[in-house]
Amino acid sequence: MGEVFAYIKHAQGVADDSALELIVAAKKIAPGAPVTAVVTGTGADLDKVCTAMAAVYNAVWKIDNAALAYPNAEVVRKALVNVVPAGSIVLLPHDTFGMDLGPGLSIKMNVPFVADIVGVDGVDGGTLKAVRQEFSGQVSTHVSCDISGGAVMNIRGGVFQADGSAAGGAVVDKSGEAGDLSAKRKFIEVVAAEAGDVDITKSEVLVSVGRGIEDQENLEIVFELAKAMGADVSCSRPIVDAKWLEKSRQVGTSGQTVKPKVYMAMGISGSFQHMGGLKGNPFIVAVNKNTKAPIFQVADVGIEANILEFIPELTEKIQEL
């Protein structure tokens, strides 16, 4: 099996949570093999991250270049193809960056790509058996892939918990091998999300509504329940996509990260992107008419019901208290 690399995402001199999770995944994929962190960027922030990663990984490969100041996947891909040896295994976080980079990187490295890995069931010979999810998380699947000639693998966040790995590797400067980093896609700027009228990141109790609400007009019953409970209203992605509620109310990796005490998931299936926005171990109540919805795997209390019927009855009972 080839050498194993983990790409370290970072910002403002601090490594992303995925940095400590990828090494845990790497140890399952290639037990006993040394794991090298690859860190791209420029200047003092890059050095800071490299130093931090040297304590965790067996080695750190630093690629310093002004063109890498912002992690534009098209530029990072070129650097990795030039620096990482042929036949290597490269691990990436399966987030908005890893999705941008991984598939194309696998083509340019001429190795297989395994997306959104949520588990590793072992490696037999050179064949990896990994766990993935399909159909919005309703079912899981084992996939097999011969990784003896290298692979690019995207690892879902929060699945492989950081285990306090410590190694004490050295930082190796690979900047000279980065090669031509010109790209046909140019990063311009990051536009920050607009603040909304309610800051759901501060809410202690959230009544969160998803696709099960079916129609914009039905949102009224959700606001009435929230009012009766003294809660705020949040939502999942389809509600924002339909423009029924403002983006600032969306819980999820592409929306807000919330940490309420109680989270009422009403008609929300519970995709990993949605659950990724829910922190602080809240008490989760899930109401959904589809018992296969993944939300029931993570909720504390579940109710199989149509929210359009259930919510008004619940509201009425709470109002009577």
Binding site: P103, F135, A193, V205, S269, N290, K292
Partner: protein, 262 residues
């Protein structure tokens, strides 16, 4: 602008409970409601809106069988000008790279400035667009939620973590994967579908698009699905049962105890 949009016919997860078949090697596909992959629908809408502004045409393409034709017709009813069905026994069992290889053949048969895919489909891999771009040596951007057409290039927004948007300038031709919410896809009525019911949709096989049959399909797939299963997730939620009144009483007790009622 000549735009190609890659679409896929998928089981609609908002309409179906997905159940594994008795063999554990597939989902139960009888009685499933199929539709066009949700992300792809946004991609087609975006393509139509771009063409409305700057001129050109929209072609929708899919890899599949006769049944896949219905999603092409649906997207043509929305306003796509042409449809192409890529179908061949040799395509069956392709992995993501295989699908990208087939699509590359279709791209090279045309003269497209812009290629759109949905950000992901039913397998949740989010991989075909990025692979296709790399094979074509076109620039790529994923999770696009804004497109402004310019001269020989586009200004695009990518949806990144925390509701933030990453703005990029990208040269044409390019491949973009489209995120939901970029627009509001138009409604397609029965009348619209009828209008395109008799439009000829060309069917192209491996030889027609210059794809080496041994480079696609099950035999060429490097990533193979072994089985489907329902994971043992421990206890999961405590399901409240009984009459609605009993359920609500139990729930209210929980909410009181956990600080959910103020």
């Amino acid at each position: 602008m000549e735009i190609l949009v890659c679409v896929k016919r998928v089981p609609d997860t908002s309409e179906n409970e997905i159940v594994i078949n008795s063999g554990g090697n597939d989902i139960e596909r009888d009685d499933l409601v199929y539709s066009v992959n949700e992300w792809d629908n946004y991609a087609v809408e975006e393509a139509i809106q771009i063409v409305d502004k700057v001129g050109g045409s929209v072609t929708v393409v899919t890899v599949g069988d006769d049944e896949s034709e219905e999603v092409l017709r649906r997207e043509m009813a929305m306003g796509a000008n042409n449809g192409i069905l890529l179908t061949d026994d040799a395509f069956e069992g392709s992995d993501g790279k295989g699908i990208a290889t087939i699509l590359k053949g279709a791209v090279e048969k045309g003269n497209y400035d812009l290629i759109l895919t949905g950000a992901q489909a039913d397998a949740g891999a989010a991989q075909v667009g990025g692979m296709l771009a790399a094979m074509l040596d076109y620039p790529y951007a994923s999770l696009v939620n804004l497109i402004e057409a310019g001269d020989g290039k586009l200004m695009i927004g990518r949806e990144i973590e925390g509701g933030n948007q990453e703005m990029n300038e990208i040269e044409l031709p390019c491949v973009l994967s489209i995120q939901t919410g970029i627009n509001e896809p138009r409604y397609v009525g029965i009348r619209g579908i009828r209008k395109v019911a008799s439009v000829e949709i060309p069917e192209l096989g491996a030889a027609d698009i210059g794809v080496d049959a041994s480079a696609v399909g099950e035999a060429a797939a490097k990533v193979k699905r072994v089985d489907y299963f329902v994971p043992d997730t421990g206890e999961g939620a405590e399901m409240l049962t009984g009459s609605t009144e009993e359920i609500i009483d139990k729930l209210i007790e929980y909410l009181k105890a956990k600080g959910g009622l103020k």
